[in-house]
């Protein structure tokens, strides 16, 4: 079996975040985890070539990257396209998902990737692409690649794919009907009794729809409105006094900007493991646009800029955290009589 593999700059051995802008490279043979993939596949499986691309480049040039990958695959014969594993790297996951889908749709080549359930690539691609559940722990790489190999083999061979639990992929959100032994009535009473006894039970259908947030009414008169800047890019005062974590943050902070027209590099740092923070470190206005907002305030475009900006880190942050963080921020925002929020997000 001939395999094409897609890796980011880190797994491709180029380097870490500072190389995220690296453009696409196509190398012969297996690279990094691709070698593990080959050995776990067995049966003379070969990674024919590896695409290596920086995460930022991939997201910012998605169309070009996709075209280049498709072109290479059109010209070569491969049986399977593997991307990642991406774990909780969001840009990597989004790129991997996009490429897998394109490869499947445009070329009819089977594809498989792997990422953590909270990876933004999952929501976008789970229904069309097989995404192995990798969790966030990179030390489990071997296990994950093994699952990708097993699933990839089945996909390439056109075999029937089992349930998410059996094969290790994130549920894709498709229903398949099956005759079972127990009547619905029996299953219903079983489930109730488990719930009453506080025993674990599995609902037959998870609610996946999020209640839509109705769009709040537009600000009537911006020139009288009080506006606050909020960010999930992890900008914090030097020293990170609130110890906001750079991953799955459980805390947020409100930081004084009274009288300031500009955010100065020496006053701030960035607690966020998910992007190259150099540029924001050089000029924090690139994340929290205080200078521009101050001008708006001076020119009367807005009524008042609130004296603090609110900050947390959005990286790999499960809803169980972010829902709470959001609610807490809202509490404060309401208390301060703020009319509108500009949220900047990386």
């Amino acid at each position: 079996m001939r395999i094409a593999h897609y890796l980011n700059q880190f797994f491709g051995g180029i380097g870490a975040e500072e190389h995220a802008g690296k453009d696409l490279e196509i190398r012969d043979g297996a690279v990094g985890p691709g070698k593990l993939l080959e050995s776990l596949m067995g049966d003379n499986a070969q990674v024919a070539f590896t695409f290596v691309c920086g995460d930022n480049y991939a997201v910012e040039h998605q169309d070009e990257l996709t075209a280049a990958v498709l072109k290479k695959l059109r010209d070569s014969k491969v049986d399977l396209f593997v991307a990642g594993p991406c774990f909780d790297a969001g840009r990597y996951g989004v790129a991997a998902g996009a490429l897998c889908r394109a490869v499947q749709t445009e070329l009819g080549i089977s594809a498989v990737t792997a990422m953590n359930e909270e990876n933004p690539g999952v929501d976008l691609y789970r229904d069309t692409v097989y995404i192995v559940d990798s969790g966030i722990n990179v030390t489990k790489l071997r296990d994950i690649v093994a699952k990708m190999a097993a699933l990839g083999k089945k996909l390439a061979a056109g075999e029937a794919i089992g349930s998410p639990g059996e094969e290790g992929y994130l549920r894709r959100g498709w229903l398949r009907d099956q005759l079972v032994d127990k009547s619905a009535a029996r299953r219903l009473v079983d489930m109730l009794l488990a719930k009453i006894k506080r025993e674990p039970f599995e609902s037959e259908m998870p609610a996946t729809a999020f209640a839509p947030v109705p769009i709040p009414a537009a600000v009537k008169d911006l020139s009288k409105a009080k506006v606050v800047l909020v960010t999930d890019g992890g900008l914090v005062p030097k020293g990170n006094p609130d110890r906001i974590e750079g991953t799955a943050a459980t805390r947020w902070g409100a930081y004084d900007i009274k009288g300031r027209n500009d955010l100065r590099a020496e006053d701030y740092e960035v607690s966020h493991g998910g992007y190259d923070t150099r540029f924001v470190q050089e000029d924090p206005d690139r994340l929290v646009p205080l200078d521009a907002m101050r001008e708006m305030e001076k020119n009367g475009v807005i009524g008042k800029l609130h004296d603090e900006f609110l900050s947390t880190c959005g990286r790999s942050n499960p809803l169980s955290n972010t829902r709470r963080l959001g609610r807490e921020m809202v509490e404060k925002i309401k208390k301060e009589g703020i009319d509108a929020v500009i949220l900047t997000s990386t």
């Binding site: 349930s163 998410p164 498709w174 229903l175 619905a184 009535a185 489930m191 259908m205 609610a207």
Partner: protein
Amino acid sequence: MQLTLAPHPITDLQFGPNARLDGTVLTVDVAALRQVVLQEASIVDVEFDIVRPGEPCRAGPIFDVIEPRAKEPGTGEDFPGILGAPLTAGTGTTHVLSGAAVSVLAEISPDLTRSATGRVLEMSGAPVTASDYAALRHLIVIPHTKPGLPRPAVEKAYRIAGLRVAVELARSSLNHTPATCESFDPVGPAESGRDGLPRVVYVGQIFSRQRKPEVDEPILYGANTEGMLPIMLHPDEWLDGAIVPSLHSWFGGTETYFYQNHPIILDLYRRHHAREINFVGTVATIAGSDNFDRDRHCRAAANLVKWNLRADGAVLSKYGGGLPHADLAETARLLEGMGIRTAVMVSDVSRDRRIESALLFNVPEVDAIVYNGGNGVRWELPKLERIIAATPEFTKLLTGPLTVDAANIVGVTNQQGASRMRSLVY
């Protein structure tokens, strides 16, 4: 309340001049049955047929499936409020021809927007494992109504005729000793000796105000449920003829047979007998006609469960189409808020087989959901020689080969808990 069921197992039905039960073989007297059916003025002619498990034959569209049952004389009314006085169902002795069924055909499809064939009874081939009805011996009633009658009158005639035939058949067993006798343990909100066991209630919708009921449409003790608020019923009332489905069989997935053999109620009884629960009662409710109506019903039902039945847990089922899911979820939500744990059973509304289309509600507390699937299954039914239908058009339509959705094989997708077709998440 003490109901005793006296089952007489039936292994075969056959036609003959005198209705009688010999061991497990029931002889069916069509001349006598004809007289019974023609009591309905709307029906001008009728035929009968018998189908057995495994026979390569097909009948449809099915209006209703009824288990032949008859009350021991003096111990109650058969289908009270419909065939006789509205005495309380669920007392005395009821003789049951188990293993048999009376299936009434309709002359036109109940809802052409859903299916040309209506629901089909298929006795052989792939669908049989999915429907309990394929394992029964059916007396098929093929009615011919007066042309030009309004639809509700026709359907009412089907209903009454079917119930009468089912009772008449079962009367052959009245002087016979039943195989066993099954008495139900007393259940109720004040039964003693059940301390420490979780108090469990069944809340079942019996109608949906997606439709307005006909003036004389019999549903609950013959009443049409118009203006009705939720009511507490003893479980045996469900089992012993107090409730029949709406005349509008496009509501889908509800037959008299599974009121008589209500899977949820029977399972709750099983747990009650095994001393796992204290089955304290049931509530029959209606899915509302609008949001206001819904709130009214859901609150009333929840209040009965909380304050009158004092339940610890409730299982809930729905009736009708999509909208009643909102009532189901709202009732469950209110119960959870009152500290009562719930599990709900929904029907398949996912047309695109996507999980995001599967649930019509998103209520975090309503997190125990049984999902009756089926929208993704269809069967290729072969051409058959023997088709039982009321019109030549239907005979032609059902001859096959034809593709039929699972929901259109009677008994496969059932809202009373009989279904074994699940939708698994992939």
